[in-house]
C-alpha cells in the first residue's frame, strides 16, 4: 500500500487539474433564486416555433431505426389565446419542484418547463391513481395541461436573430417485439407535444442516437443525457430546450469590472461583474430585486437578492407559487436601479424522481402500483417510471444568456423476458389452415376487414 505522503502528492496533482478546470468554466456561486427566476421567467414568456408545441422532427435525419411518426400526422389543433388556468399552477409547480430538488448551499439550476413537458407526455399514458396523483402535482387535469402548454406556446411571438427558445420532444422505445405501444398515446403526444417516436434496439447505438438527439436539440450545450441502457428499460421520453437571447442593451467594455463575489461561507471569488442601470425593480418582505430585459423585452433575467443577514434558503422557503407569480407580475418601474450581475456559467444534473415523489407522484415510480396502461403493454409486465433525469446548463455574459435543459423519463418493465413476444392480429393479416403432418395449407385466406 502507498504511504500517506504518496497519496498526498496525488491529491495535490489532481486538485490542480480540478482547479484549472473550474477556472476555465468561470463558475461563480450565484443566488439560487436568480436561477429559479430565470427558469420561471423563461417558462412564463416561452416562445415556441410556430405551430404545435415542440419542433417538427420530420426533418431530423435518422440513419437507422423505424420512425413511427411516419404513419402518424399531428392534427393541427390551431392556436388560441392561452387559457387563464395554467400560468399560476405552473408557477406553483415550478417553485415546488425547485424547492424539492435544490441542495442547500450548492448552485442549482432546474427547468420546470422541461420537466413538465416530459411528465405531460407520460401522463397521456397514465390512468387511475397514478394519473390522479400526477394531476394533483400539476395542479391541472392532464387534458388542461396539454391544452395549456400547446396554446400558450403556440400563441407567443419569436424572433430568430434576437432571441430564440426551441423545444423538442421525443419518445424512444425498445423494438424487439416485447413492447406494444398504443397508437393513441403516440398520436396524442404528436398532436400536443410534436413528439417524434423512434423504435430502437436499445443497444449502444441507441445510447448514441439519444445523446446525439439531445446534443442537436440543445444546440450542443448538453452533450449527453444517458451513459447506458439497462435491460429493464423499455422507453425514454425526452424533452430538450435551448434558449439563446441577447440583452436589450449589451454591455460595453467600460461596464465590465474584475471584482470579488462573496461566496457561501465567507470565501471570496474573483469574478467579472457586469454593471448597468436598469429600470425594473422588485421589492418585498426580506428581498429586493432587478429585472434586465433581453432583446424586444419578450424575456427577462430577474434576480431577487435576500436582505443582509438572511439567506437565499430563507427567501426560497418564504415563497410559494402564488407569491412568486404576484412578485413577477408587479414590477416597479419608477426607479433607476444600479445593478451588478456577475458573469457565470453553470452545469447541473438532478435526479428528479425523489423530488416528484415528495411532491406526491408516488405511484408513478412504484413497480406494483404504477398505472401506465395507456402507454402500452410489455411482455415483462407492468410499466413504471424508474427515473427522471434532468441536465441543465446556463451561461450569462456581457452579450446575453444561453441556457439549455434536457429531461429524460425512463420507463421500466417489472421484469425483462427476452423470450416473450406479442402477435396481435388487429390489422389485415394472412391466415392458413395447416396440416401439421405435411406442413402444407389446405386453406389460405386474408382478413382485410371484419364485417359485422
Amino acid at each position: 500500500m502507498r504511504t500517506i505522503e504518496e497519496f498526498k502528492e496525488e491529491i495535490t496533482q489532481r486538485s490542480q487539474v480540478k482547479a484549472k478546470r473550474n477556472k476555465r468554466r468561470n463558475i461563480a456561486v450565484i443566488s439560487t433564486c436568480c436561477l429559479l427566476v430565470v427558469c420561471v421567467v423563461c417558462a412564463a414568456v416561452l416562445i415556441p416555433p410556430r405551430g404545435p408545441v415542440g419542433r417538427n422532427n420530420y426533418n431530423y435525419t435518422r440513419p437507422e431505426g423505424r420512425d413511427l411518426m411516419a404513419s402518424l400526422k399531428p392534427v393541427a389543433l390551431g392556436t388560441k389565446a392561452a387559457p387563464d388556468a395554467g400560468a399560476k399552477e405552473l408557477a406553483d409547480f415550478a417553485l415546488k419542484l425547485f424547492k424539492a430538488t435544490a441542495k442547500d448551499g450548492e448552485n442549482t439550476l432546474v427547468s420546470p418547463l422541461s420537466a413538465i413537458a416530459v411528465l405531460g407526455m407520460v401522463a397521456n399514458g397514465a390512468g387511475g391513481e397514478t394519473l390522479s396523483q400526477m394531476e394533483k402535482v400539476f395542479g391541472l387535469p392532464v387534458d388542461k395541461l396539454n391544452d395549456y402548454l400547446h396554446s400558450y406556446v403556440g400563441s407567443l411571438p419569436q424572433s430568430a436573430d434576437k432571441y430564440k427558445l426551441d423545444m423538442a420532444n421525443s419518445i424512444w422505445f425498445r423494438d424487439d417485439g416485447s413492447l406494444k405501444v398504443n397508437q393513441d398515446f403516440l398520436q396524442k403526444n404528436a398532436d400536443y407535444y410534436g413528439a417524434a417516436a423512434y423504435a430502437e434496439p436499445f443497444d449502444a447505438e441507441t445510447v448514441k442516437n439519444i445523446n446525439d438527439w439531445v446534443k442537436k436539440n440543445t444546440d450542443g450545450m448538453i452533450e449527453e443525457i444517458i451513459d447506458d441502457i439497462n435491460p429493464s428499460e423499455v422507453m425514454h421520453l425526452i424533452n430538450a430546450l435551448a434558449f439563446d437571447a441577447y440583452w436589450e442593451t449589451p454591455y460595453k467594455s467600460h461596464q465590465l469590472l474584475n471584482t470579488t463575489f462573496n461566496g457561501r461561507h465567507g470565501s471570496t471569488d474573483k469574478v467579472l461583474m457586469m454593471n448597468s442601470t436598469e429600470s425594473v425593480y422588485y421589492s418585498g418582505e426580506g428581498f429586493e430585486g432587478v429585472g434586465k430585459p433581453y432583446k424586444d423585452g419578450k424575456y427577462s433575467f430577474v434576480a431577487l437578492l435576500p436582505e443582509m443577514g438572511s439567506s437565499v434558503e430563507d427567501l426560497v422557503s418564504s415563497l410559494d407559487g402564488a407569491k412568486l407569480y404576484e412578485i413577477l407580475s408587479s414590477p416597479q418601474k419608477e426607479f433607476r436601479v444600479e445593478t451588478q450581475i456577475p458573469k457565470f456559467e453553470i452545469e447541473y444534473e438532478a435526479q428528479l424522481g425523489d423530488a416528484l415523489k415528495a411532491m406526491g407522484m408516488k405511484d408513478l415510480f412504484d413497480s406494483d402500483l404504477a398505472d401506465l396502461s395507456g402507454i402500452g403493454r410489455s411482455a415483462a409486465g407492468k410499466l413504471f417510471i424508474g427515473s427522471v433525469i434532468q441536465k441543465t446548463y446556463i451561461s450569462v455574459d456581457e452579450n446575453g444568456t444561453k441556457a439549455a435543459a434536457a429531461t429524460d423519463a425512463i420507463a421500466y418493465a417489472t421484469g425483462f423476458d427476452p423470450n416473450l413476444r406479442f402477435v396481435i392480429l388487429d390489422r389485415p393479416f394472412l391466415y392458413m389452415l395447416v396440416d401439421n403432418q405435411t406442413n402444407t395449407p389446405f386453406f389460405i385466406g386474408t382478413v382485410m376487414d371484419i364485417e359485422k
Partner: protein, 183 residues
Amino acid sequence: MDQDALLFRRYLEGDESAFDKLMEGLFFRLVYFIDGIVHDTFAAEDIAVDVFAELVASPKRFDGRAGFKTFVFMMGKSRALNYLKHRKVVEFTELSEAEGLAAERSQLEEKVLHSERQRVLAEAIAQLPEQMRQAVHLVYFEGLSYAQAAKAMDMSAKYVDNMLQRAKKQLAGIIGEEGRELL
C-alpha cells in the same frame, strides 16, 4: 466548529501541517468506509483521493453547516455509489490480481483497526446488510452522531436510529451480547 473543520480552516489560511493532520486522521478511515461500499480497495483509494482533491480545489463546497467528517464521508459515499453505477464488470484474469487486492485490503485493515475488539466488530458487521453496515460503521468506528450519520447517508435520523436498533439485535446474534453493548 469541530476539530477537523478547524484544521481545514487553518489549512486554507496557509498552514500545510494542518492538512497533514487531516490526512492522518481521516484518509485511511475514508478509504476503509468506501471500500465497504465498492469492495475494491484500489478503487476506494482512488475515490478517497478524489474526495480530498475536490476539497482542495473547491474548498467553498464545505460551508461548515455539517461537521467536517460528516461532509467528507457524505462525499465519499456519493462518489462510491457513482463509481458502482458506472463501473464495467472487470474479471480478474490472473490469480495474482485477486491476491494483490486482498493484500491491499489487509494492509488497510491494519492501518484502521487498532484493537482486537475493533477487528472482531469489523468482521461481525461485514455480515450485516449493506446500509446497516454503513450506519454502524459511521456511528461506531467514526464516532458520528445519529444525525451526522443520517446526513452522510442521505437519510432521516429516525431511519438510522431504527437501523441501528436492528443492527444491535443482529450483532448480538453474531458475536453474543457484546455485540449489543458495542453500540
